[in-house]
């Protein structure tokens, strides 16, 4: 609306022109960041974490082709990730045996092709239904595939999985892919291509019709489109990109086990996508980075990390259903109108008691964990570098006060922040209209 009121005549509303330059700039920036990251964070842990993040970015984006773009809630997306990984591993082993002259760079394509083929196969069944029935069918397919991984030992290697050596294929330009940094660049390259590909698909006639099916499948039929075909194509393409992610994961770890396509992996991608935000292309990227970081970091410092993860997911669904990207997108009109400084202090004001409440919660979680799981260590423990007795009522009282007080203040400050947001938005809008 603002764009048209500003220059009086509406002109050509497709809004390209300047948008094209901005889009190109963003993609160049992404490429530069991907290229520079391992130079900035050069520790072994950092590089392998970033490898994992980029794999998960592809995986989460492919999932959002279903959930965010087409409105399909799948509980079995890891099937394509896992099958892509297995076939890549088998292809690697075959290439080694027959000395096939293929470089490692192209092997993620095996994963992608596998994902596409199984996407077509399973999609032909699952996409005949939508909504809850679709979700249940995908759950069934996930169970079917992951249980056959343990039965068909020859193909899936049973519990040990399928291992291989990624350095024993054709080397191009003397790149052996022994060092993790070289693998990073392989993954980063494929991540960039996949991101670009999936973004481009959202900007095609098919991508827009996916959105139409998400918004109102019944009406889509009356503008000439077969909703089953749209869902089927989206499902197959999501399988393709999930397969690429799975192939890269296989090359990264040099082993594929059945956990790659288990229910937990299917769940993780739902969480990543939701936490990041389904309504925005950047959402799953943010979600994949954050969740992977938390998985690596939290599992290092606490044994109860999955519980925190669950709490985060519940908190996001309840208080910010549009995800992190949605929260950020809400700020954009304020930033553009130069009103963001009005709300920032209120956000900080809400953040402080929020952090206090989280401290209270995690103190309780850690005390419970210490008393139940680490019973052998006795009741002495430390939290945030403070040593205390987990059995003492004082410690529990402190935790309870932190939680209750923090939460109460957070609610009050949160309401104030929302009011501030509302009035700033009002101001931003009236400022634009008056111009």
């Amino acid at each position: 609306m603002s764009k048209t009121t500003q220059n009086g005549a509406p002109g050509r509303p497709s809004g390209q022109g300047s948008g094209l330059v901005a889009t190109a700039a963003i993609w160049i920036a992404v490429a530069v960041v991907l290229a520079v990251l391992p130079q900035v964070f050069s520790s072994g842990l950092a590089i392998s974490t970033m490898c994992l993040m980029e794999i998960m970015i592809i995986f989460a984006l492919s999932y959002n082709m279903l959930l965010g773009q087409t409105g399909l809630l799948s509980f079995g997306h890891a099937v394509f990730f896992g099958l892509g990984g297995y076939l890549t591993a088998h292809a690697m082993n075959a290439a080694r045996g027959e000395h096939a002259p293929l470089p490692l760079e192209v092997f993620p394509l095996v994963g992608g092709a596998t994902g596409l083929v199984f996407g077509i196969l399973f999609g032909a069944v699952a996409t005949r239904r939508s909504g809850t029935a679709f979700a249940m069918i995908t759950l069934g397919i996930a169970e079917l595939v992951s249980s056959s991984a343990l039965i068909l030992r020859h193909a899936f290697g049973g519990e040990e999985g399928v291992a291989f050596d990624r350095t024993r294929v054709l080397h191009l330009f003397g790149i052996s892919f022994g060092p993790q940094e070289q693998v990073y660049y392989l993954i980063a390259g494929w991540c960039f291509l996949s991101m670009g590909g999936m973004y481009a698909i959202t900007r095609t006639p098919f991508g827009r019709i996916c959105n139409a099916v998400r918004d109102n499948p019944d009406r889509t039929g009356f503008i000439g489109y077969n909703t089953t075909t749209v869902r089927f194509l989206a499902f197959s393409m999501a399988g393709l990109f999930a397969g690429i992610a799975g192939g890269l994961a296989a090359l990264n770890f040099e082993i594929v086990t059945s956990s790659a396509m288990g229910a937990a992996q299917s769940g993780t991608v739902v969480l990543m996508t939701f936490i990041g935000g389904v309504g925005n292309f950047a959402g799953p990227i943010i979600g994949a980075i954050l969740v992977t970081y938390l998985q690596v970091m939290l599992s290092d410092i606490t044994g109860a990390w999955q519980l925190y993860f669950g709490l985060l997911f519940m908190g996001m669904v309840m208080f910010a259903p549009t995800g992190i990207a949605g929260l950020l997108a809400m700020q954009m009109p304020l930033v553009r109108a130069g009103q963001f400084h009005r709300v920032l202090p209120w956000y900080v004001l809400a953040l402080v008691p929020g952090l206090i409440a989280i401290t209270g919660v995690s103190m309780m979680v850690e005390m419970c964990f210490h008393l139940t799981v680490n019973t052998a260590d006795g009741p002495q423990m430390s939290f945030a570098h403070v040593a205390f007795d987990a059995n003492s009522p004082l410690a529990w009282a402190v935790a309870a006060v932190l939680l209750a007080g923090g939460f109460w203040l957070f609610r009050r400050a949160g309401r104030k922040a929302l009011d501030a947001y509302g009035s700033a938005l009002e101001k931003a809008r009236s400022g634009r209209a008056g111009r």
Binding site: S14, T204, N211, D215, D218, G221, G224
Partner: protein
Amino acid sequence: MTSSAPALVLSGLRKSFGSLEIIRGVDLAVPTGERHAIIGPNGAGKSTLFHLISGHYRPSAGSVRMRGEEIGGMAPQLINRRGLSRSFQITNVFPRLSVWENVRCATLWALGYRYSFWRSVDRLADARDRTEQILTEINLLDRWDMPAGLLTYAEQRALEIGLTIAGNADILLLDEPTAGMSHAETDRMVELIRQVTEGRTLVMIEHDMGVVFDLADRISVLVYGEVIASDTPKRIKANAAVQQAYLGTEVA
């Protein structure tokens, strides 16, 4: 299109839900280029009739012929691709898509883009021109980047018409296009319908008798799932059976 067969012919059309028969043997012919109104009391089965023609429901018996070809029981998208497009009584748009995207999506199939996932949608000049033309016709050009769900009621009704005409269908079914509108809005809608149905076949369900007598070349009266009269507006007004069944209370 060149065939002399009427745009639409319904014969012996029936639809039951369980033991309840809603459409009880409808025979109706709409010649190409006619503006045809269907009137009748609430619950007469007018919307059900539209659902049967447009593929939303499958007929229990009888046939629906479009330019001589049977379309009864076909999927909605197949009927739409043959050149029949409909609007809905309850606004039925794509709420999270912008007004622009709503209309553009509705233009894509007819322009031959189908499920294309290799072409940039923003570079399709014909889709852009068509979308702009439709938005100008329905007077929503200055709302182009608003999510459709945030439009006012009258604007959503206009968008509903926009979606219906965007695919360039030559048979249009409009289900109560002026329902719930003020006088001024109704007048503008009538003008819009007159304009966009120029050279096309129109079948319209309408309760506002002013609109009906203003627009329609012929009127059919549907009562309890049967067409009791189908004639010119003048003769329908004079028809005793119609007056008794329906019109008497509304026009007198």
